[in-house]
Amino acid sequence: MEHIKTVNNANLKESCAKGGCGECQASCQSACKTSCTVANQECENESRKNNK
């Protein structure tokens, strides 16, 4: 494309297929304790990661 560059692969939809395992860290436990940013947490679902 001449006018658009896509930086990442759209994958939020695909993430649901093997998502919801609940093994990832509670976001509040990582560094903040007073506010939330969830999107910086690491996925810990082995089957989803291996599927990458």
Binding site: T6, A10, N11, G19, E23, T34, T37, V38
Partner: protein, 457 residues
Amino acid sequence: MVHTFYLNGYYIALDVNSGAVHVLDKLCFDLLNKFEDKLPKDFPSEILEELSKDYSKEELLEVYAELLELQAAGQLFSEDDYERFTDMMKGAPIKSMCLHISHDCNLRCKYCFASTGDFGKGRKLMPVETGKKAIDFLLTHSGNRHNLELDFFGGEPLMNWDAVKEIVDYARSKEEEYNKKFRFTVTTNGVLLDDENIDYINKEMKNVVLSLDGRKCVNDNMRLAINGKGSYDVIVPKFQKLVEKRLEGENKEYYARGTFTKNNLDFAKDVYHIADDLGFDQLSVEPVIADPSEPYAITEEDLPTIFAEYEKLAVEMIRRKKEGRCFNFFHFMINLDQGPCAIKRLRGCGCGNEYVSVTPDGDIYPCHQFVGNDEWKMGNLDDETLDIEMKDKFACSNIYTKEGCKDCWCKFYCSGGCNANNYSFNKDINKPVKLSCEMERKRVECAIMIKVAMADK
């Protein structure tokens, strides 16, 4: 839903429901901004006429074709079809705990949300037996979850250090039998750090959060010892020693974690001080959560200054990243490819459902920020009680139940914000705090822009 923004010379479009991030040229940006919903197959003539004052029709048609191509690929105006997952966490195991090992503190920080350590309920240390019961609670309520998180919190956890060690030993002794892995963390103000507990923390704690606000004048204005003196000179050498030794070991994660207030809206200087002058490279400096009547509380009029500061920090981080010598800033960390699944992003931290806090008396609360508020007491370890109705209330609170979230572009990054913050300001966990939302949106824009800039060769 598509969110477009211009930052640091980049025209950026985020397709909210797929998570796709696109960098556009100005023509494409101007064109995309004419649409609030899906693009029709044919270029609307009135928009073509309007934009042809500035751009050639040929180019406009070319760009429109590219946008249609993205839309067909599900990377533009994609559907929000996640609402079917909202009940998925009802009945979820509890696998994460904030253990209030000490409701006492040896500092008197002015902005402390825990009423200088005792959460308004009197100064207490947690008995070891209560800590062991908390471990048993996690072991028996965590279902098939393998990784269990436990943060030693306070007050100041080092004031009850022997109990911490006994509780860790107890938990480790149960791991094999229950097929669980405990991940311990500790949040400390550093005053009581010594060689012995530094070595223990570095051996046993997966992450350690070191509370430090930045420049000496900033830190010592808010983080005071009981005698009224600043804490900077006491804690900084201890934190440096901890991190130096930590980086030689297996558990390397840590955060130097500061709070900024109305008194230091130039908080980027504190970030640089912690990184450049003190040598830490894992940083988190966050806005204070405070009653608006407090003189140090952040208010709406501060937002333009805070936004400019975040932007300045982001640009400086890009410069350093390109030189290969940058620090991590917690709120600008974002994983655009393999971050949390959308199901996780619907409800955020999981407090009150997958995550609870336990006090020295064995009382259970949804999280540390609800502690001390009787209305939110969920149960007690001694009584073996747990309010399942309240647990379900948290399980079913998500970006579709929270006011304004469904139509906000940031919903999959903040996941509806902090329930405790929402309750504290708006008396409703489902009513986000506007001020916090504004700052979060700016941070996420900066985080995305950093990714864009780093992909720009």
